[in-house]
Symmetry: C2
């Protein structure tokens, strides 16, 4: 059951119009734009309705796209959004202004996307287990306290304040510091065995449990495989489809409850962007929202997602383009280990968008 060219045009006009107005669109509204009479449009619309692409809130209302309609729109009908210079500049300046520490890059990017799109954004990164420590510093605070600073192989920095039972002077700390730099760097989480820790303890005659404690901290940060951030949930409230508080709350709670993040969509192999529409979402709470998510690759061992959640009536084209751009920039910054992002003027088209559902 293939759509005629005219049907496609009409479907597209309906969706474009609906995205803009959030009101069911009547035949008159689009008749002028297509050079056809409203009666003709009505006939076509009726067929589109029986084919499942459009629906009516009630008999004598205008038409509203169904998720299937959106799907077709996203897959073949919508104009690829070509980003304007102003848009890229907005994003670039946002990136420059916010991205300061690698550690917070991922959450900052989410914040930026949420501000730009006016939808809630989520961002997460995950890595296969291969993170290692690259450098340790143990910084003296007082004789019972020091800070363990560890610089990881991805150039993020973690620290923990550690208190001891019995005192330790700065020289002791230097010794431990050297020990860690010698024995615990370049080791993945599973290489930090009790044997290794015990061996180190034997060498230093550690009575304070310093090694145990720091090693514990190290294992903790190395195994921290995944980070998730959600921002801007309150943006939902400004969209007419979330005027129902209960509906809004369900989605917002779902997003805040980051344990549930697992059910959010992920672009398929070889694709960078995925759009899931309404019931295509696995999570019950998102069955009448849409998700647009972009993937960024840092290296073979780390990748991440950045996405937004919004009503099914979403400007898919623009959101997808923006997300792809930000994801690209993020991958660039993370793999170069560089928070300076010069802008990637040339590549503003989003050719690799994966907008097929499966």
């Amino acid at each position: 059951m293939e759509l005629s060219d005219r049907k496609k045009k009409i479907l597209r006009a309906v969706i474009d119009n609906y995205i803009e107005t959030a009101e069911p669109v009547g035949s008159k509204a689009i008749a002028s734009g297509l050079g056809l009479s409203s009666a003709t449009i009505r006939n076509e619309m009726a067929e589109l309705k029986t084919m499942g692409y459009l629906e009516q809130p009630h008999t004598s209302a205008g038409r509203v796209p169904t998720p299937i309609g959106y799907r077709v729109y996203v897959n073949e009908l919508m104009e690829r959004h070509r980003m304007s210079v102003a848009e890229t500049e907005t994003i670039n300046s946002g990136l420059r202004a916010r991205m300061k520490q690698l550690d917070s890059l991922i959450s900052d990017a989410g914040r930026l996307v949420s501000t730009l799109t006016s939808y809630p954004a989520y961002s997460m990164s995950s890595r296969s287990q291969k993170l290692t420590a690259k450098r340790f510093e143990l910084v003296h605070v007082d004789d019972l306290t020091f800070i363990a600073v560890v610089i990881l192989s991805d150039n993020t920095v973690k620290n923990r304040l550690i208190r001891l039972m019995s005192p330790l002077d700065e020289n002791d700390l230097k010794r431990y510091s050297m020990l860690f730099n010698n024995s615990f760097t370049d080791k993945t989480e599973d290489m930090i065995t009790p044997q290794l820790v015990m061996a180190a303890e034997r060498v230093t005659g550690d009575e304070n449990g310093v090694i145990m404690t720091v090693a514990g901290f190290l294992i903790e940060v190395l195994s921290d495989v995944q980070q998730t951030f959600v921002t801007g949930t309150s943006h939902l409230l400004s969209h007419p489809e979330f005027q129902d508080v209960d509906k809004a709350r369900r989605v917002m709670n779902y997003l805040s409850d980051s344990g549930e993040m697992m059910k959010l969509p992920v672009p398929d192999q070889g694709k960078n962007v995925k759009i899931t529409i309404g019931p295509e979402n696995l999570a019950e709470e998102l069955k009448d929202s849409s998700v647009v998510v972009a993937k960024y690759n840092v290296d073979e061992n780390m990748q991440g997602l950045i996405g937004v959640v919004g009503p099914t009536r979403m400007d898919y084209s623009k959101v997808a383009a923006w997300l792809a751009y930000v994801a690209n920039a993020l991958g660039f910054m993370l793999s170069r280990n560089d928070t300076q992002f010069p802008g990637i003027g040339g590549r503003t088209d989003n050719d690799s968008i994966d907008n097929k559902e499966d």
Copy 2:
């Protein structure tokens, strides 16, 4: 115009009841509890109404407390909430579970409070200018890149990835590192003058701008006087007074827009907790919400606030007690520089609550 004992009892009963049910309370509802007939209560209520402590949504509805009524309640009527063992244990375990790095202590505390109270929470800390650097580490990434790690006098750790124009080897980096540890530690922001930077540049013959860049980064973190975090705004939606999306959105936007934080209340000199009710709030957006905020002191040079925002119908007593407890713990952890919090079992009463409005 002093309230009779009986009027106080009635006012208290009305407010207690209203806090619980969120419905206007009628005379019958509280008559039984006070051993008086509903008619008597009605007469008293009518007077409380003319006195401004109660109001009616409409002529034949029950009574609802006015902000002035809440004020009296908070100042003299409400029972001081004595925290149960279970409650302190809930908080303590929350503290233990989340508070891991000093850097994130403040935001983590906000998150905890929001979860505990089911209200949006905000937390902020500010210090007078006296922060200094305590230790520098410049960590080699590649010849064009290094990470500047600086440990500050409050034992938080900041880092920044820095790229250079021309290469620098590990030995150079060590030299710079020493230089910074010699010349830039224990200096407040205003002591880092262009002269100082230039002098340092002269010593090392720095052509890479390393000193300039790191000094800039240092000034940036030292002058980062204030941090603000808001979490859990979506909790608002579960309260009946925020079923109106517009109302909820106004408050949520206000809170997300952290630039506006300045208008949030602060406990008065010598007091630890402040409660502002409805129109007592300076911010227009909060004129019909209430804020409970607790102060914590770390040392003479740093203090912070942690507070929640909710409907005027709030369980002031409980919220104030919890906030005071968390603030206390936070001050304790920050001044001992210790993220281990053993629990402060003894001091569970909140004697120093400042519930007077001015």
